[in-house]
Symmetry: C2
Amino acid sequence: MWWMGDAAVTDTTKRKRFTLAARPQGVPQQRDFALVEEALPVLQDGQFLIENRFASLDPAIRGWLDDAPSYMPPVPLGEAVRATTVGVVCDSRNPDFAVGQWVLGLNAIETHSLGVAGGFTGPIDLSLVPSPTHFLSVLGAVGMTAWFGLTEVGQPKAGETLLVSGAAGAVGSLVGQIGRSMGLKTIGIAGGPEKCRRLIERYRFDAAIDYRGKSVQQLEADIRAAAPGGVDVVFENVGGACLDAALMNLRHGSRVALCGLISEYNSVEKLGARNLWQLIVHSARIQGLLVRDYLPRFAEGAGEMAKLLSAGGLVFDEHVDVGIDNAFAAFMRLFEGSNDGKMILQL
Amino acid sequence: MWWMGDAAVTDTTKRKRFTLAARPQGVPQQRDFALVEEALPVLQDGQFLIENRFASLDPAIRGWLDDAPSYMPPVPLGEAVRATTVGVVCDSRNPDFAVGQWVLGLNAIETHSLGVAGGFTGPIDLSLVPSPTHFLSVLGAVGMTAWFGLTEVGQPKAGETLLVSGAAGAVGSLVGQIGRSMGLKTIGIAGGPEKCRRLIERYRFDAAIDYRGKSVQQLEADIRAAAPGGVDVVFENVGGACLDAALMNLRHGSRVALCGLISEYNSVEKLGARNLWQLIVHSARIQGLLVRDYLPRFAEGAGEMAKLLSAGGLVFDEHVDVGIDNAFAAFMRLFEGSNDGKMILQL
């Protein structure tokens, strides 16, 4: 299998690391990072060495580069850039991690990572999926965001109606398909006719709404036409007009899972949500979703997603760039929008 | 006792009713209503007659006067204006309602209401409280909004911090006191130094914040100064700057019970909530509160409030106007703000 080969290190006593050279001001630049080669760490008792095969490149990484208080400490200057990786244990002084074991963990963009006892690394079962990259997409944070966001925050029941904004994205497309598998009617919102066609044909949404060029009132009417009785669950990735239009279509006791507000991240003057009064009228709620809260349940969620996968009910897209030398260009695809699917770097 | 006398009907075969003559356009006018005297209804099997002693005058009544879809049908033209009342059964062809029984129900502003089997009328136990008016305030919808809003929507735990906006109002002042009785640290927001003094001295909040003339950033800093570790529960009556400032002070897993957005009801250009992203950062939620959802549990809630009352841990204010002839003027106090406490009409 193509992914079973050795990682691209010429000198087997060294590792390559993609490190943070300076804190980016605004859009990250090549000069903010460095590629360094250094000796492999010497293992202490309880430690093990992971030969990373794939790193997940996520928008969240951008936040970790800033020296600002967040839910994670910032990446220290000179250290490798933090990322979730999939790899193989290649040396071990920890009885729980045998050499040859495949693992998934919060490590860094580097050919080898040091595993420590009690860290965020756990074994994975490759027999669950056709490719280990799936542990960084459908079975990784993206898949877990979709799974726990919909099932735990959205609390859907069969027969209900689900509205997803950003529905053509990595998370949104999975949310629609999970919803469909649970017996929900699914309505997706996306930008442009091409994405809307994809919602119906590839991700099998029951209805697709193009938000481009529409006012809140027009979007509100479009949602009402697709769901005349209102919506029970909203999976919100976008905010702004999408959220306000969704709020005008809530049913009694409905739930809005707030995953993202991407329409507001780069806007100077935030619009704000003006229809919150609908939460009172319908005894409804908006609940924020931080997938990190579900870390202890990732194995359970990954098992559920693997079931859906093997049942053939799930399509998704991965964009794999190759080589740690290309780490910067691959990372920047996220902000240029030039990736077709979940962005992954093969190391 | 002063409230045990007969209702003010001269002809005992007739009743007086405060009826809707025309649908108000904007601010209600005297001409939109009529006082009519008519023969008492003749009871059918299963029916009973209630001699009303007190009617609760609430802002919600204004909504029921419009011919617009809502959670209740509009009051029909020519019918008595719907209101919650406390009264005594004075005639009965229903074995569950004996003559002399005190009852609470959704009836109308009229001296006598017709009770029907399976209607929204139930017996009340006057031994629980010093005055039957309490069933329209602290044991009525106001009290139930405070009780179920805080306990069920807010889900507080002892030792947590509670932030209440509109804290000097009928609901807000009760929420603060219930919170205090549950072992919460309580912070109230109100308008002006007089109300803020009342929060501390009368309603025993731990801290009071005057919102007048303050920006979101100033309010945010004031809340942070009062709750440096953040707030766990927000009871929101106001919206706008109060809500945005509260959102910037949420703790992980905190709950915002959304009871009202009174700052936005009469504003042409709504500000909107611009800090919803804090819900994601803190896995927090905003949940709308419609007290009607808890109707089946009002007896339970009233029992809890009665316990607090008898323990001496609750102060609250009622404003009782006397006489059905004064119904219009008494109702309009709600919009003029000339009432000192929960507005009640003695019939």
